[in-house]
């Protein structure tokens, strides 16, 4: 079994987990303000495309990342406007956003790069791999932790930052208030809509980063539909982590680990379909241990008993 568990397994896990984690954090902050964002998949896809486009236009990965973030923020504004101002069903909006993103990226690929399926430029520089000075020399740990794209580190840093923001700062406190009981928050003069907009934009930033990690960090190219369901897995990670940044990290890591592990299991006689099932099954099993609050509690909240 030493072929199954090695340094590269964990190293690969960190890479696999990053776009999912970033998107899941984006999902978490939306969930915290009461908007269930099913459109993560689409947002990440737009991020992946615009990162490549930005790199192509600006010739600099860092500017490309900023470009991707701006594009996805713009895109998420549509989500915000239609679901907050026009009070559309947030799930319908999310699903439509996914369709929109798929169509739009394919179309732009054709219109801008004049290619179908994939855009690849071997001269394009992806994100650098950072070697962490001291850590890289530590035997096992160095191999796992060092040598990733900066966005991998940023993702985990963002999770910690978000944990602090939500639970330690005043503004994070108000954000949670706006999500927990919008009517009460409104009655205190907390600008609920503005906070919701902020959260959606923030999730745009995170999904932009997720997309950039996918198209500039993990590989350096864009292919149609390259998110391949990662946005939905992020959604699952959001919920399994109960919209707690640290919980989201844990559930994303679990999924990432199982995914990396299932790749390695493929050699071992099991049909590929079953090894590919593994991450989903394990996530399902994990839910036995990390239960969501019971339906009764949720309902109690929703019905807000008074007197």
């Amino acid at each position: 079994m030493d072929q199954l568990f090695d340094v590269s397994l964990f190293n690969s896990m960190l890479r696999i987990v990053t776009p999912i984690l970033l998107a899941a954090l984006g999902g978490a902050i939306c969930a915290r303000v009461g908007l269930f964002n099913v459109g993560l998949e689409g947002l990440v896809l737009i991020g992946a495309f615009s990162a490549i486009l930005g790199n192509h236009l600006l010739g600099n990965v860092w500017l490309a990342i900023i470009f991707a973030i701006l594009c996805v923020m713009l895109f998420s504004l549509i989500f915000a406007y239609i679901s907050i101002n026009l009070r559309a069903n947030v799930i319908v909006v999310g699903i439509s956003m996914n369709f929109l993103a798929a169509g739009l990226t394919t179309f732009c690929l054709r219109a801008i790069f004049d290619v179908k399926g994939a855009y690849y430029d071997k001269n394009m520089m992806g994100l650098p791999k950072w070697d962490i000075p001291v850590i890289k020399d530590i035997p096992v740990l160095g191999g796992i932790v060092s040598g990733h794209s900066p966005l991998v580190y940023l993702a985990f840093f963002a999770a910690i930052l978000m944990q602090i923001y939500l639970f330690k700062t005043v503004s994070g406190f108000r954000l949670r208030a706006a999500g927990e009981n919008p009517i009460a928050a409104q009655s205190l003069g907390i600008p609920v809509r503005r906070i919701q907009y902020g959260a959606v934009l923030m999730s745009g930033v995170l999904c932009g980063l997720a997309g950039a990690q996918l198209s500039l960090g993990q590989v350096t190219m864009f292919t149609e539909g390259m998110t391949a369901g990662r946005g939905f897995i992020a959604l699952v990670a959001t919920m399994l982590g109960q919209s707690n940044p640290i919980g989201v990290v844990a559930s994303s890591l679990l999924f990432g680990f199982m995914d990396a592990f299932s790749i390695r299991l493929q050699g071992f006689a099991l049909p590929a379909q079953f090894t590919q099932m593994l991450p989903y099954i394990v996530t399902l099993v994990a839910m036995f241990f990390f239960k969501d609050r019971s339906y009764l509690k949720d309902a109690q909240r929703a019905n807000g008993s008074s007197r």
Binding site: K168, A177, E180, I183, Q186, L188, S306, R307
Partner: protein, 502 residues
């Protein structure tokens, strides 16, 4: 006293419905101004406009002589107006301290200083005689504490004019007394209060001036020392009320019997129900008094089959129904007016008709389908008899005022015509006219030979209606009194955990 605030010719329309019509209302510095009226008279609507949650269709609001236009509660808060809402506005997963300081959180080095918040809340609690545990989660607190938290929140915001929309509905008599004392003390210090309540004795005790609303118009303005409860209620209801008369009748056989029922609490905590035994007989009203959170809710849940007891027996009409489903118990002969109309008693999104059907659904069934026409006639009958104000039977329950919804629920359960009725807080938030109707129905049912278990935090209600009174304290029955001998003082003492004293 100086005029602090004035609302002039206020009209508020919702579509083609006028909730407030040309209302003039003012508040002076340091006064307690009571606003009374029937359910749906427009009291809350008027206050929502003052608090910036709604904008008047026409009319003006001036504060300290300056005209103001609020678009948002935060503007009203800045002008020193605070409101304790009729339906609480709390964040259940937040601590009480968080709920109180929200909007003006203390900070330390950029972060939310929860310790300082807790200290401030403790300080505030001491100052106004309303202590709370700042670290408890709001959702875990009894309603009384939640109410207190709401008031502390407004005080924390530094309001000069404090609107209290039915603040005493969930408080025990001693809590009410404390609250009214606090209000009076604060008023003496220069704060002004607008007090909305259906309890006229509270009005008489605390208010300086009184404004009466009926159907969206002002029907009276007076000083409290020149009026009495009869006059107010006449202005409210538009007629004289008939005083309740209770004829004691001889109780018959047991309709409901609870034997040694126990329900464990969370690990390490005291049991929620501690070896409870009680009987309700035919033609008898048994009242249960107690501060909310002492096991009354749990007892009712066990009796009605919503929760299974850990041990003990529940008998209905002589049949052991322990462990039976809610439906089976209801069919065996129970009706139930639940204590919390929004949580247990109704679905806000459903229509009046659908809300009326609950519990009757198997009676109006034919071939699996609902007999709508028959149902419609019946529910319409209830609306007439209890004069429930509703647009139509297809109006969603959420558009009914709380009192009217309560009447609908009561009507629904009376119509069950079962030998045993649980009536939990049957008149909570209900105006005097409707209270008269509901009390009349309860007495009539009792007279007809049915048994009623009445749970109420309203001692007067318990005292006027019950034959026997049980007092619950910490999940156990602390004492039993007969209606003839019981006094408010005795009950209060038992409620507070004092030993039974005859």
């Amino acid at each position: 006293m100086t005029l602090l605030l004035e609302m002039k010719n206020i009209t508020k329309k919702y579509g083609d419905f006028t909730a407030n019509h040309n209302i003039n209302f003012d508040v002076r510095k340091g006064e307690i101004h009571a606003l009374v009226g029937e359910n749906g008279a427009g009291k809350t609507t008027l206050m929502r406009m003052l608090y910036g949650m709604e904008e008047p269709t026409s009319g003006s609001i001036t504060i300290n002589g300056k005209e103001v236009h609020f678009h948002d509660p935060s503007e009203a808060i800045r002008q020193g107006i605070g409101m304790v809402h009729q339906h609480f506005m709390l964040f259940p997963s937040f601590t009480l301290a968080e709920n109180i300081v929200i909007g003006g959180e203390p900070k330390r080095s950029g972060l939310f200083d929860r310790k300082a918040a807790a200290d401030k809340v403790n300080e505030l609690g001491q100052m106004y005689g309303m202590p709370v545990d700042p670290w408890r989660k709001a959702g875990d607190c009894p309603l009384g504490i939640q109410q207190r938290t709401e008031i502390l929140k407004v005080l924390y915001q530094g309001a000069d004019v404090i609107i209290l929309d039915e603040p005493t509905g969930v408080l025990t008599p001693s809590e009410v007394k404390e609250l009214l004392q606090s209000i009076k003390r604060l008023a003496a210090q220069g704060k002004s209060f607008i007090l909305i309540t259906h309890k006229l004795h509270e009005v008489m005790e605390a208010a300086d001036r009184i404004t009466v609303l009926r159907d969206g118009v002002v029907t009276g303005h007076m000083e409290s020392n020149t009026t009495d409860e009869e006059q107010i209620s006449r202005l409210m209801v538009g007629r004289d009320l008939i005083p309740m008369s209770r004829v004691a009748n001889e109780p018959g056989a047991s309709v409901m019997h609870v034997q040694n029922v126990t329900l464990a609490g969370a690990k390490g905590a005291k049991p929620l129900l501690d070896n409870i035994t009680l009987t309700v007989r035919q033609g008898e009203i048994v009242g249960i008094a107690g501060i909310s959170g002492n096991g009354q809710s749990e007892l009712l849940q066990v009796i009605s089959g919503l929760v299974q007891p850990d041990s003990g027996i529940v008998e209905l009409n002589g049949k052991d129904v322990t462990g039976e489903s809610v439906r089976a118990i209801r069919e065996q002969g129970m009706a139930h007016i639940p204590e919390d109309r929004y949580m247990w008693g109704a679905s806000r999104e459903a229509t009046v008709l659908d809300n009326g059907l609950m519990g009757h659904q198997h009676q109006y069934k034919k071939g699996g389908l609902i007999q709508r026409h028959k149902l419609r006639k019946v529910v319409d009958g209830w609306v007439q008899r209890f004069s429930i104000k509703t647009g139509s039977l297809d109006t969603q329950a959420q558009f009914l005022s709380g009192g009217n919804l309560q009447k609908l629920i009561a009507a629904r359960e009376f119509a069950q015509n079962k030998p045993f009725l649980i009536a939990a807080e049957p008149t909570r938030g209900v105006d005097v006219g409707a209270m008269e109707t509901i009390h009349g129905e309860l007495l009539a049912k009792c007279k007809a030979g049915d048994g009623i278990l009445l749970v109420s935090s309203e001692l007067t209600e318990i005292l006027t209606l019950s034959d026997r009174i049980l007092v619950m304290y910490e999940g156990a029955i602390a004492g039993e009194l007969s209606a003839a001998e019981a006094t408010e003082e005795q009950i209060s003492l038992l409620m507070a955990g004092g030993k039974r004293k005859l």
